[in-house]
């Protein structure tokens, strides 16, 4: 599974928000998308998920052009923000909804949810509450679990470590590495948390004002000196 981006441009009025001539993300990569606010990280993720229209170029998700076909939705899991959550559903109902859409049987759903128990920490299931009434942190957890539940081949997450306590951040980082190792999931995540990006990502892409400033492979656990220098100087 790979993502191929070619001549991708997004502009509002006369401003280019994103301009990427070429980008290929190979199978099994864990790509960390970093950059300051307004760099175009979320815009790129939205373009990958066909949530906004490109002005030019296209995104191809394993041979499926995202703006033309809907096949890519079957193997792609994603969570960007709370507009992915059904606020009036309980978490059980929301996971059940996702399972139905992806044709996951109830038994299989229960097995998969068991895997996320450390992240849920007894705060999410069997609470008798709808998602709207959960804290931001727990909503974030529900969204991440919902995205990973389908065992996706491509996983897209926008700032997954936001709102999470330190323990949960570590659990999420561990789950991402695990899903990549066991299923070979290609993961693209954006984050301001350089520490986790350095720890788990195999490739780091730095965006600045819609352009790729830096794109290099990275050894998990190593500190990216070049990246740190960029953020200190900018």
């Amino acid at each position: 599974m790979s993502i191929v981006i070619s001549h991708l441009q997004k502009q509002y009025d006369d401003n280019f928000i994103l301009d990427i001539p070429s980008l290929i993300i190979e199978d099994g990569e864990l790509v960390g998308l970093v950059g300051n606010n307004g760099a175009g990280k979320t815009t790129l993720l939205r373009l990958m998920l066909d949530l906004i229209e490109t002005n030019h170029g296209q995104v191809v998700n394993n041979g499926s052009i995202v703006s033309v076909s809907e096949k890519w939705k079957w193997w792609t899991g994603s969570f960007l923000d709370r507009s992915f959550l059904i606020d009036f559903y309980t978490p059980e109902e929301y996971f059940g909804f996702i399972a139905e859409v992806y044709n996951i049987a109830q038994d299989e759903l229960n097995n998969r949810l068991a895997h996320f128990m450390p992240l849920m920490n007894d705060e999410i299931l069997d609470r008798g509450k709808i998602i709207h009434d959960f804290s931001m942190g727990n909503r974030q957890k529900i969204g991440i679990i919902g995205a990973m539940l389908v065992n996706p081949k491509i996983l897209v997450l926008d700032e997954p470590f936001n709102f999470l306590d330190p323990s949960s951040q570590h659990i999420v980082a561990h789950l991402l590495q695990e899903i990549r190792r066991e299923i070979g999931t290609t993961i693209i995540l954006s984050s301001h948390n350089l520490s986790f990006v350095n720890d788990i990502c195999t490739r780091i892409i730095l965006l600045d004002k819609g352009h790729i400033l830096m794109d290099h492979f990275h050894r998990e656990g190593d500190k990216d000196v070049e990246l740190e220098r960029y953020f200190l100087e900018s």
Binding site: L49, D50, L51, I52, E53, E70, K73, W74, T76, S78, L80, D81, S83, F84, L85, I86, D87, F88, Y89, T90, E93, Y94, G96, F97, I98, A99, E100, V101, Y102, R127, G128, K129, I130, H132, D133
Partner: protein, 415 residues
């Protein structure tokens, strides 16, 4: 405390806005004027003279009886429809307000809560038309006091204890039952389908609209049928029974899904599936309205063939065409505490052409009633309705194609 009260009143005033106040004033003026006309021209003539004399001789007893009835109806109404924002928002929480100050403020704010002003507002004209001024004022103040007390009581019940948890569990039980009704013993895709009716139960504004539709139509049919004579205008009531939900709720279209449309769009869930579920839901939720109406309609007031014909036409054709423009909507805050948009200045979430479509549905049906033989009308309505039932999936696939033409604009509008 006075800071909280002042802040709350300022927020209330600002959310209504200058235009909102004008609209509210004109709405109230029109409402009271129409109430006065209805009571004077319609009801006063029909109230027996003995009753009017009794009211004049024993006003205290009459007022007491009205207050008891109002108390019961008001409590039930507020139990279902009243939702208070009782949790301090971040702005208030970061200010030095004590918890007991906040609790007292919640109670005091019931005096100007719009739900609590509803009962006295609706009854104001009647109070003074049925009683002398002094007694009318007493009745009005009593109704206001009852409304405030009910409001505080319901707020306390919902705030404390396990009310929300019990409600969610009750909805889950209902969800299983409704899904079984829709799909038979082998229930599939219950969570996808139940988006449509669980939203009606848990989204306060939709609950108000759904139940308003029920109550309004029930009252209309009851009032129109009680004199036993069926005239052609009564066809509108019967048809209204079967399309009221697609008009009241259907006008929201994909407003309901707008809050989580990004989550739907990135999953392999087709839009025509959502529309089809809405269509079936409108049919199902009409049943609790239709069954009581069948019980209250006098025998022979409307022929069973006409009733059935409108049932099939309304549920099949009417509900289907009302969803034609369902995708063309704006973002809708699901958990707004607005009551009929009085708290919300923004433009309508939907467009006026839904009412044009409703007009077309009614016009076709009423036009057919003028066919030379009644059975011709009934058969035509049944054919249109049945054909719509059979072909609705193709219709919604066509609507889906309309959505695709400008899907990015629509998805952007949903945010």
């Amino acid at each position: 405390m006075h800071i909280l009260i002042k802040l709350h009143l300022q927020l209330l005033s600002r959310s209504i806005g200058k235009d909102g106040w004008l609209r509210l004033a004109s709405f109230l003026s029109m409402l009271w004027f129409m109430q006065g006309c209805v009571i004077y021209y319609v009801k006063l003539d029909q109230i027996p003279l003995e009753t009017m004399d009794a009211l004049a001789e024993h006003p205290a007893i009459a007022i007491a009886a009205i207050c008891v009835s109002a108390f019961i109806m008001d409590i039930l109404f507020k139990l279902f429809f009243k939702h208070d924002a009782t949790v301090m928002d971040a702005f208030v929480k970061t200010r030095p307000f004590r918890r007991d100050t906040w609790e007292r403020f919640l109670l005091i704010s019931q005096f100007w809560h719009p739900f609590n002003l509803l009962l006295p507002t609706l009854c104001a004209v009647g109070c003074f038309m049925l009683f002398p001024i002094g007694w009318g004022m007493l009745l009005l103040l009593s109704l206001y006091a009852i409304s405030v007390v009910d409001g505080a009581l319901i707020m306390s019940v919902k705030r404390g204890g396990r009310y929300e948890e019990t409600k969610v569990k009750a909805h889950t039980w209902l969800q299983n039952w409704i899904n079984a009704a829709i799909q038979g013993a082998r229930v599939q895709n219950k969570y996808v389908t139940s988006i449509q009716y669980i939203s009606l139960l848990r989204v306060p504004r939709l609950l108000v609209e759904a139940n308003f539709a029920w109550i309004a139509m029930f009252l209309v049919v009851w009032l129109q049928s009680h004199d036993g004579v069926f005239i052609w205008e009564h066809n509108l009531c019967i048809l209204g029974l079967f399309v009221c939900h697609s008009i009241f709720i259907g006008r929201y279209g994909l407003c309901i899904e707008s809050s989580f449309f990004d989550g739907i769009w990135t999953k392999p869930l087709l839009l025509n599936r959502l529309l089809s579920d809405k269509y079936k839901t409108f049919g199902i939720i009409t049943l609790p309205l239709v069954i009581p109406c069948i019980l209250i309609i006098p025998n022979g007031w409307v022929s069973w063939s006409r009733f059935l014909a409108f049932a099939i036409y309304g549920s099949g054709f009417g509900n289907m065409v009302m969803l034609t423009g369902a995708y063309n909507r704006l973002h809708f805050n699901l958990f707004t505490k607005a009551f009929y948009g009085l708290y919300n200045n923004r433009d309508s979430y939907y467009h006026g052409y839904e009412y044009v479509i409703a007009l077309v549905v009614f016009t076709i049906a009423i036009g057919l009633t003028f066919l030379p033989k009644p059975w011709m009308c009934d058969v035509s309505l049944i054919i249109i309705g049945a054909a719509s039932f059979l072909l609705h999936q193709y219709y919604f696939k066509w609507v889906e194609r309309l959505f695709f033409r400008n899907r990015y604009k629509h998805i952007n509008n949903y945010r």
